[in-house]
């Protein structure tokens, strides 16, 4: 920011922005507006076009048990993912931010730990599908300990947990890297002060690390929420929402209503509900983000 020399507005800059901004407006803002518009309409075969139906789509939606199932599953999946991501990322990031005698070795570990992030959702689904096989390695392990086997993706009690594990595994590296960045930006002087005051490792984590990481953790929760709430690909590849709709997410509802049975108005109403929840989350994120920038400035 300090590099700016020109004090007045220079509108020529808009020429540089225009292509990207027009592209984003046409490809995101406009379709979102269409979804909003369609959610108050219904296709009429009689008029061969969409006619206004006020809030009918929403009334129908809130009376649809499948909608509530998908909402419940989506919240379970999102909440579970956030907890798993933080639960895996934090300890690993703490390990990696310890005082390593060789940065090279640490970077090799860090690189290896990021690698799940490189697998596409279908690729991750296949890797875990192999582990989840009835006669696969996980069942061998479980059988030798508990004397029974688990039908991971085929059992309504286990399917959601199974896809959660895979999603936890696949996406944690992103958050690990963010947390690692945060941990490394805590001033060393704070740790020194804590040590002078005679704090042990546990007390230091509790009184220095955790308070210093509060904003970043909130940000991560919000980013993870926004990402997972509209999750589609991994769970779709693994279960298609089954068995017995036990892993049926909001995005599947959108997909089926909009693209399989072509109830565009109905599907759009779901889209609007999802967007409203997302907007709240994104607004919170932006608020924290811009407040953080003010503090830095």
């Amino acid at each position: 920011m300090s590099k700016k020399i020109r004090a007045r507005y220079d509108l020529k800059g808009l020429f540089f922005l225009a292509p990207a901004l027009v592209f984003l407006a046409l490809s995101i803002a406009f379709p979102l507006f269409r979804v909003f518009q369609r959610s108050f309409q219904e296709y009429s075969a009689e008029f061969r076009s969409f006619v206004s139906v006020d809030f009918d789509q929403y009334r129908k939606l809130f009376a649809d048990p499948l909608f509530w199932t998908s909402l419940k599953n989506t919240f379970l999946f999102t909440g579970g993912s956030i907890l798993l991501h933080l639960g895996i990322s934090y300890p690993i990031a703490l390990l990696l931010s310890a005082n390593w005698p060789s940065t090279r070795t640490r970077n090799v570990f860090r690189g290896s730990l990021i690698s799940p992030f490189l697998f596409s959702a279908p690729a991750a689904a296949l890797l875990w599908g192999l582990l989840f096989r009835p006669l696969g390695p996980l069942n061998y392990l479980i059988e030798s300990i508990f004397g029974t086997t688990v039908a991971f993706l085929g059992d309504t009690r286990w399917a959601l947990i199974s896809v959660l594990i895979v999603n936890g595994w696949k996406s944690f590296p992103l958050y690990m890297v963010l947390i690692l960045g945060g941990l490394q930006s805590i001033p060393v002087s704070l740790y020194d002060a804590a040590r002078v005051d005679g704090a042990n490792w546990f007390q230091t984590v509790l009184k220095v690390t955790i308070p210093m990481m509060r904003t970043l953790t909130t940000t991560i929760v919000l980013i993870d929420f926004a990402t997972t709430f509209i999750h589609f690909d991994l769970v779709w590849t693994m279960t298609k929402g089954g068995p017995m709709r036990s892993t049926y997410l909001m995005s599947f509802f959108l997909y089926e209503k909009g693209l399989k049975v072509f109830k565009l108005g109905y599907g759009s109403a779901v889209g609007v509900v999802v967007s409203v929840i997302m907007t709240l989350c994104i607004a919170a994120y932006l608020l924290i983000y811009s407040r953080g920038e003010e503090l830095k400035a």
């Binding site: 509108l11 890797l127 994104i282």
Partner: protein, 276 residues
Amino acid sequence: MKSSSLGRVILLYGVTLLVTLAILFPVIFALFTSFKPNPEIFIYPPTFVPQTWTIEPYISVLSQNRYLRYFLNGYLISISSTVLCLILGAFAGYGFSRYRLPAKRALMLGILALQMFPGAVLMVPYFNMARTLGLYNTYIALILVDTIFPLALVIWLLKSYFDSIPVSLEEAAMIDGCSRTRALVSIVAPLARAGFIGTGVFAFIRAWNEFMFALILTRGPKRAPVTVGLAELFGQYTINWNGVMALTMVATFPLLILFILVQRYIIAGITSGAVK
């Protein structure tokens, strides 16, 4: 922090090694499986390291035109969208970096917010747009989609790279009669090479791994990328696990190479701005 005593270092290495192996277990197991002959996969209890090593799964997968087609499509789509994304992103990032504009912060935050939205909500409109514009099952549709989603991040990253390049260089060139665009292309862009590589790799990975829109905007293997091919294999009753794992490895291999080459740029990319 504490001085590194030997015991502490051994503990640190040991714990980290165990955690890393646990995290990598699915990958290692899949890699070994891709080198097993088919009958060995059905042995119970399952073997970990192959009893007999074979590269037959790789040969059988890579000799099928269907799979080669997926790879060709994947490269074509991902490279094109990366290039498009970098061009759009470079101009916008430059504009944001060098010009005083009204509501600039609001615009930048708006872009950030917009890019968090998409995904599933846009499935239906994109499907309809593709149908209306005659872009269903074409490369163009997928190239455009894969350009949209990383674009906000690319703009933010390139802006911060441009911010770190002194304005005086361009001003000197412009006094000598060089135009703004020319200054961007021949002075700023070469200096921001690291930024382009890092963000480019990021955009490429996003595009290569994109699945949802590839699924709804294509039909059959003619235009579909690798992710669609992999997803088809999941849930088939007779899976040739060794071949499938070989395919998964081949599909992820290019990303692994890219990642190893430019790891630090990618990490910088993830961290800056805390965007996904």
